[in-house]
Subunit: 244 residues, 2 copies
DNA sequence: CGGAGTCTTGAAATATGTCAACTCCCGTGG
DNA sequence: CCACGGGAGTTGACATATTTCAAGACTCCG
């Protein structure tokens, strides 16, 4: 019931065409992918796979947000990855998951069967090199997150998270109007991502609000009123992660 | 003065031949690598490169231990990676470092010039696939560390660290004798790796000692007396990471 | 309109950090 | 060879950020 097979989009019309695993492919290679790809959709909150499961496919997030999380025996859980549109799910060469994968919002994946995909990686340098690049980018992101988890204060963590959401929302800020942004996770999920409790996340969001840095439209929608102050609160270098 | 060029070892005699980036190479490919490789050595404590530096080479750790660390403006630092023998340093496709790299012990690297190496990656599937595999392994390790940094207690962190050192020391434990192990980092470096202070690390090591789980021979050398209790203290699943 | 999930806010508890004193080593130079 | 000095590590007392526990408010949806 959670999994729905969606109708096809042509690769050339695909919103993630230029950022995903296929971004370096030429027309011929795209045709090959087009023939073997298929879509899967998951409703918000439903599991995509559990730790230890063998996942028969790999694929790209086309729409929505999924989390990768590790849970300890006593229930403590840590989110170890956030998959946003264009991010890749699955590890060539190993089919068993090392973490739980959950759809945080409604999610659509563009999937490939594992076997054929691994063959393609072997025979298509434009795919294998993009795969290396994406894996190394994820590694960089994971390392930035290690700094956050190991050394940042609660306020810095929450500010960093908001800043990342704003950055990855890929919005043109042509005029000076603040833009309506979406928080794709519950407070609890944010807490699991930031290594905090949900109460602390809530308090720090209130703090950013009372400082006039962000404004909430409702619980899931907000605007950034002061990007500079937000960045200053994140603990990152003065210039390091500027968005505009 | 810190950098020393060492005499050559033949690839077939190389201690990391079967675990490093070259592990899937055949004899012909190895010959190619043999021709372009060269060694660099660094003395304990010396920098291999700083964040923002452009590193002209990539390479494997042959001997010793190096750390990758990120430092914030106010001095808080987090170690985001530990390079042990066979681990790979450098990212094809980008030459600037995103973290400081430091030799924790005396280190010997087996290096390749960046340009030629990138060509090799493009033309040698046995290297590019091994590179993908190693990048994904590192990503897995980084994600395990995220769980540690985000959710584990000080005791669990220190126990996990000791367990990792024991596991990666690659020692055959044929009889039941405890084995002499080396702590390749100072208390401060361990603290930076674990997201703790050096005082907390010291206290937790004393705690493991007083529980009879480990025993110190001197400050840098120790034995694990009770692997099961060590694992139980690490917070990982009952079976998850057993060593023997 | 009710109920359940989600979120906010407050008060108290606690794990870890901070500050400080002291010890232990190890290498150096007299 | 010994004394010295300094870095590294240990341990204690106190401070504090974040968690834990608890109560209540908001919102969406039946």
């Amino acid at each position: 019931m959670n999994v729905v097979l969606t109708e096809r989009i042509k690769c050339n019309d695909c919103p993630i065409r230029h950022r995903a695993i296929c971004s370096s492919c030429d027309e011929t290679e795209l045709d090959t992918l087009e023939k073997v790809k298929y879509y899967k959709s998951f409703t918000a909150g439903s599991p995509i796979g559990y730790r230890g499961d063998s996942l028969g496919f790999v694929g790209s997030v086309v729409k929505g947000v999924a989390t990768l999380e590790k849970t300890m025996e006593d229930g403590r859980t840590q989110t170890v990855g956030l998959l946003l549109p264009s991010d890749f799910l699955g590890r060539p060469g190993r089919s068993t998951l090392d973490y739980d994968v959950t759809a945080s919002t409604d999610v659509t994946l563009c999937c490939f069967e594992r076997g054929p995909f691994e063959d393609l990686v072997g025979s298509t340098p434009n795919i294998s090199s993009r795969l290396i690049e994406m894996a190394l980018d994820e590694l960089d992101a994971a390392r930035d997150w290690m700094l956050l988890l190991g050394r940042k204060t609660a306020e810095e963590r929450v500010a960093s998270f908001i800043e990342m959401i704003a950055r990855r929302s890929h919005i043109e800020n042509t005029d000076d109007q603040p833009i309506k942004l979406v928080l794709p996770l519950t407070r609890e999920s944010i807490a699991n991502y930031l290594g905090l409790t949900l109460e602390t996340v809530s308090r720090q969001l209130s703090r950013l609000k009372s400082k006039g840095i962000i404004r909430f439209l409702d619980r899931r929608h907000f605007e950034v009123l002061d990007y500079q102050a937000l960045h200053a609160s994140s603990g990152d270098d003065a210039d390091g992660g500027m968005i505009f």
